[in-house]
């Protein structure tokens, strides 16, 4: 794929990202940050590609470390975001819990 096509993808993603994120509720800014954090963990795909093609032992080691780090980011990010979002309860659920 040529550079211009990649640039096109970048610019369009930036516009979509700006539009979607400006509508995120301010109440959820911390989960937004941890959630986007998880999304950036998708660099895992890139680390797998370089780990598969690396030639020297040093390069393989470095790539595998990168794989592990990206997975920490990806798995940890989605899990911790879920844990936080679970706590945001609706008032009705609150009351039901209170009556138990």
């Amino acid at each position: 794929m040529d550079g211009v096509a990649l640039l096109t993808v970048f610019v369009l993603a930036a516009i979509v990202g700006y539009e979607v994120i400006s509508k995120v509720s301010a109440t959820l800014h911390t989960p937004l940050m941890s959630g986007t954090n998880a999304i950036s963990g998708i660099v895992l795909v890139g680390t797998i590609i370089v780990a598969a093609t690396a030639e020297s032992a040093v390069a393989v080691t470095l790539a595998l470390i990168a794989v592990a780090l990206a997975t920490v980011n990806l798995v940890g990010g989605f899990l911790v975001t879920d844990r936080m979002l679970e706590m945001f309860r609706r008032p009705r659920e609150q009351q039901e819990r209170g009556h138990e």
């Binding site: 937004l32 959630g35 795909v45 794989v67 936080m84």
Partner: protein, 455 residues
């Protein structure tokens, strides 16, 4: 699997990520959104493993297993008050992974100039994200002082380093030797440290937002290097989010981003005086304050950083419960900079089982103060200081504040009369409508709960 199918799978995953962010527009849909994002990420990983069929599949899976275990334990164990530290670390490891991808691509014999330039940039920003995040973590974890660290000639050292790094990066584009990659990485790591050190403790939320944006930009740039559209889209979404949050936080502090990042270099410190004022204030005991709260129709709680420090969010919720039982309407007014990262106070209160419809953002809640009988300010100071509106010379002038001064009466729970981060006196403390209840926030709140029960 053919290239076309991979590309289509990536498109699906990108849509999942956008849907995940879309879900965050309301707490009702947010959890579903996050799940869709996670499913998207899982699809991407399965597809890449099927497409690449890497020789080192076992080693790669083992590395992933280790990473997943570490990530899962960290996500499960972390205290909600320590969320900023966790996010800082996650930013850092994401940046490191992106930088490693780019560094390996350069040494693997990449020779397209444009791509080498982007790869050098990726290494730079990824390495800065790594060490910058580690410093931010150390600050938040209180492993080091919250004071901005400045030394004489700091800006020249920093400027020199940046120049050297740009030179090394440019050289790399024409002559991609492994040692140049190492040099570039080393310089960038140092820049990351020096970049965050001068940022004061109170401004760390901004640093984290900015590093969040950096980690996204690193991923997007590494996507360009690998010609991988998914990485470009995902990284750009993160970059946009981090940039927006950074701007929002700067706006909420009433300062420019440049002032926050380089203010300490220029000599202006965010940590001000710590002297106590000797002007008269009206203080009262828990019983008096309980009467004020218990017979009110509407009470607005304005929790600040101090509430989180005292871990008093559960005690605040108990007090609200008790007041609601008596028929008092209770709202929470959340200033964007309450807490240690954007939206942190909302998470802390949600953890304490406060329903999210009571959590009101500043612009939404400010008109409500006029009709409130009591504004209860817990562990906050600068965010309710009217000097931000009335005193043009004040360091916080122009910062948007909670209109607590418009309530019929104001109660401050405070440890002492020490000024807040900005080090400026708060006129509101001396207002005739204001009552102070001195003591630790958690203890004071527990006493108030008891006193309201006894009414």
């Amino acid at each position: 699997m053919s290239e076309t199918w991979t590309a289509l799978a990536y498109l699906l995953v990108a849509i999942c990520f956008i849907a995940a962010l879309k879900g965050l527009s309301s707490p009702r849909t947010a959890r579903w959104g996050n799940l869709i994002g996670a499913v998207g990420a899982a699809i991407a990983v399965v597809v890449i493993l099927l497409v690449e069929r890497p020789d080192r599949l076992l080693a790669i899976l083992a590395a992933m297993l280790v990473g997943a275990a570490v990530g899962a334990v960290a996500a499960r164990r972390v205290a909600m008050t320590a969320m900023p530290q966790l996010v800082a670390i996650f930013n850092g490891v994401g940046g490191a992974a992106g930088a490693a991808v780019a560094a390996l691509e350069i040494t693997a014999g990449e020779d397209d100039r444009a791509r080498l330039a982007v790869a050098a940039f990726t290494v730079l920003i990824g390495a800065v994200t790594l060490t910058g995040s580690l410093v931010a973590y150390a600050r938040l974890q209180e492993l080091m002082s919250g004071r901005p660290l400045v030394y004489r000639g700091g800006q020249w050292v920093f400027g020199g380093l940046v120049a050297a790094t740009v030179a090394a990066g440019s050289w790399l584009v024409f002559n991609h030797r492994p040692w140049l990659v190492l040099l570039l990485t080393g310089l960038s790591l140092v820049i990351g440290v020096l970049f965050v050190l001068p940022i004061g403790g109170a401004d760390v939320p901004i640093a984290i937002s900015l590093l969040n944006a950096f980690s996204g930009i690193t991923v997007a740039a590494s996507g360009y290097v690998l010609e991988n559209t998914l990485l470009i889209v995902a990284g750009t979404l993160v970059g946009a989010s981090g940039t927006l949050l950074t701007r929002l936080m700067a706006k909420a502090m009433g300062r420019s981003l440049a002032n926050i990042l380089f203010g300490a270099f220029a000599g202006g410190s965010t940590l001000g005086a710590v002297t106590e004022t000797d002007r008269p204030v009206r203080s009262a005991g828990p019983e008096d304050v309980a009467i004020l709260l218990g017979y009110a129709r509407k009470v607005i709680m304005a929790p600040g950083y101090g509430l989180a420090v005292a871990q008093a969010q559960h005690a605040l919720r108990d007090l609200a419960n008790e007041l609601e039982r008596r028929g008092v309407e209770v709202l929470y007014a959340i200033h964007p900079v309450a807490g240690r990262m954007p939206g942190h106070m909302n998470v802390l209160l949600a953890e304490a089982d406060v329903p999210y419809d009571q959590l009101r953002e500043m612009d939404d809640v400010n008109p409500e103060f006029k009709t409130a009988d009591v504004a209860l300010v817990v562990g906050a100071n600068d965010v309710v200081n009217p000097a931000a509106r009335t005193t043009p010379g004040s360091p916080i002038y122009g910062m948007p504040i909670l209109a607590a001064d418009e309530a019929r009466s104001i109660v401050f729970l405070k440890r002492s009369l020490r000024p807040g981060f900005a080090g400026i006196e708060n006129e509101l403390l001396h207002d005739p409508k204001t009552t102070l209840l001195f003591g630790d926030a958690k203890e004071s709140l527990s006493k108030l709960v008891g006193a309201v029960k006894g009414l």
